[in-house]
């Protein structure tokens, strides 16, 4: 059942928030042991909250657009009184004293948090294997990864444990797992959704967004979490569009740009075939396909890894064993410096250390211009590519990932192979543009395949209209794993 169906059934008296909550908690109990999608399940809290919502409905009080919808939050979003670990040993047992704005807003809209989901430590990874709590498994094939870093949220939605979850996306961390798990994942325009209470990875790239089965549900959640927040200095005051009204199904004359030259190398044949068919589906509904070129898109991965690691090395300096998080056992003669260094080495996992070190190096004296500044300049060239293209098209289409879900352990020993999975997704983070992944087919082995649409800055209305129109003509999003 989708989020909007759940709210509708509760409001019409067909069911109650408590009954819906109990059903989903039962499903979690049955399926979670196979998937490890959750770091924490907040069953009691959820039932209390559902009872309160049913009470509000009986009393005739005002009810939110997500009334009674069970939701899960990626475990890098702070939830007051509920442990938040970023799947890192360094934050084991951390209980935030406040909630992220997205959590407050979803709860105010009537959503019921049932738990916190697994991720690659501090959102650094593409497979959820970099979690200190162990990997999450893909509901379509338990031997494969759900993608990452929001792999727990994607697996929880794909397996029907929740109809809706939030993830964060720094280089593809919502869209890539959505594609690999056969669901919808939206990364809004940078600045649209408050990052207050999101544990920072790379501040100029991080953005929170929804994962759901339908574009309509993703739009509903985005409507609730989007909009200005004075607690985030990078939060935009650009007015939010009326999204339900924007989903008209009409894409006649919509111009869809396809960067053919960028789709060549390394893309799986089944992915390419599903993508081509998706373009034909859009064209059959009245969209116009346009050949475009993005000459700098191929440099996205190196630019991304230089900028994201530089920002991460600075953001993760706060984990020093003083105010919160893991502190090493102090011996008699240990200095403060030893405490910092040993606490951090014990608390961080290998990928996090690799990225902190790479970021530290590229920002250090003598290397700044050659690496970091150069990457920032190429970031400008990439933005110019998209600015030029958006003068003549309304959305840009690519596959979301070059291949369907890969096997657990397949890429863990080779960081670069893992990074290359994000080739189609990093551009949206570097440019700030909104992008969405939609289910568009299956491989021969019945693994989901995703298509990605990218829109203009702050034009989620057009992006979601195109995505919703596509779902009106396809049924891939109705398929579930066995």
């Amino acid at each position: 059942m989708t989020a909007s169906q759940i709210t509708h059934r509760i409001l019409t008296g067909e069911t109650t928030a408590v009954a819906v909550c109990e059903e989903h908690l039962e499903r979690i109990k049955a399926i979670e042991p196979k998937l490890s999608a959750f770091n924490t399940v907040t069953a009691e809290r959820a039932l209390d909250r559902a009872r309160a919502l049913d009470g509000q409905q009986k009393a005739g009080g005002p009810l939110g657009p997500l009334h009674g919808v069970p939701v899960a939050f990626k475990d890098n979003m702070c939830t007051a009184g509920v442990p938040t670990t970023a799947s890192s040993k360094i934050l084991r047992g951390y209980v935030p004293p406040y909630s992220a704005t997205v959590v407050t807003r979803l709860e105010a809209a009537g959503a019921v948090m049932v738990g916190k989901t697994n991720l690659d430590e501090f959102a650094m990874g593409s497979s959820t294997e970099n979690s200190a709590l162990g990997p999450t498994r893909n509901p379509w094939d338990l031997e494969r990864t759900p993608g990452g870093s929001s792999g727990g949220s994607a697996a929880a939605v794909a397996s029907g444990m929740v109809p809706l979850a939030l993830g964060s996306d720094t280089g593809g961390s919502i869209r890539q797992p959505a594609a690999l798990c056969g669901i919808v994942g939206l990364k809004p325009t940078y600045g649209r959704v408050s990052r207050y209470g999101l544990m920072a990875f790379a501040s100029s790239l991080d953005q929170i967004g929804p994962l759901a089965h339908t574009v309509a549900d993703a739009a509903l959640a985005f409507q609730v979490i989007g909009g200005h927040d004075r607690h985030d200095a990078t939060s935009s005051s650009e007015a939010m569009p009326d999204l339900p009204a924007a989903l008209t199904g009409n894409i006649t004359g919509l111009r869809v740009g396809v960067p053919k030259a960028f789709l060549g190398e390394g893309v799986d044949a089944a992915v390419l075939a599903a993508f081509t068919e998706a373009m034909q589906t859009l064209a059959a509904r009245g969209a116009v396909l346009v050949d475009i070129e993005l000459p700098h898109a191929g440099y996205g991965i190196p630019v991304y890894y230089l900028i994201a690691t530089a920002e991460a090395s600075s953001n993760l300096a706060r984990y020093d064993g003083v105010r919160y998080g893991h502190r090493t056992t102090i011996e008699r003669d240990d200095t403060l410096l030893t405490m910092y260094e040993r606490s951090r080495d014990e608390g961080f996992g290998a990928e996090v250390k690799r990225r902190i070190m790479l970021g530290t190096y590229v920002l250090s004296a003598g290397y700044y211009d050659a690496y970091y500044l150069k990457a920032q300049q190429v970031r400008t060239l990439l933005r110019q590519d998209f600015e030029r293209v958006f003068a003549s098209v309304d959305v840009v289409a690519t596959p979301t990932t070059p291949t369907p879900a890969f096997r657990l352990g397949e890429k863990t020993s080779d960081p670069i192979q893992m990074y290359l999975n994000d080739i189609f997704t990093v551009s949206a983070n570097l440019t700030g543009l909104p992008a969405i992944s939609l289910p568009c087919g299956f491989s021969a082995g019945r693994l989901p395949i995703g298509v990605q649409l990218t829109g203009r800055m702050f034009d989620e209305a057009t992006l979601l209209r195109a995505a919703d129109a596509y779902q009106r003509d396809t049924a891939f999003h109705n398929e579930s794993p066995r």
Binding site: Y98, A233, Y299, P302, K374
Partner: protein, 96 residues
């Protein structure tokens, strides 16, 4: 082709406040060298006169600097590995 020595990696780890084990030093020297060689492909691009992008939102978002309720001292100390809660202080090893 970038070559990083163990000495380089040790220096980076010091700057990053990470006390690496010998195994980590080996592994990271190899992997960071590989990653740097990979990212160096951007050096082939001519970026003369191209302004850097540090952030995609060009307008700064200012607000008035007014006092408002924030977390209490007790709430902030609640997660500390070691604290003198009565005095309201975080505790660390002796510095002086």
């Amino acid at each position: 082709m970038s070559t990083l020595t163990q000495k380089d990696v040790k220096r980076i780890a010091e700057l990053a406040r990470l006390e690496l084990t010998a195994d980590e030093l080996d592994l990271f020297t190899r992997q960071l060298g590989g990653i740097l060689t990979y990212v160096e492909q951007i050096r082939a691009l001519d970026t003369t006169g191209v302004p850097p992008t540090s952030h995609v939102l060009n307008r700064p978002v200012d607000r008035d600097d007014v006092l408002e309720p924030s977390l209490t001292r007790d709430e902030l100390l609640a997660n500390a590995p070691d604290a003198a809660r009565e005095a309201g202080l975080f505790k660390v090893p002796r510095v002086i």
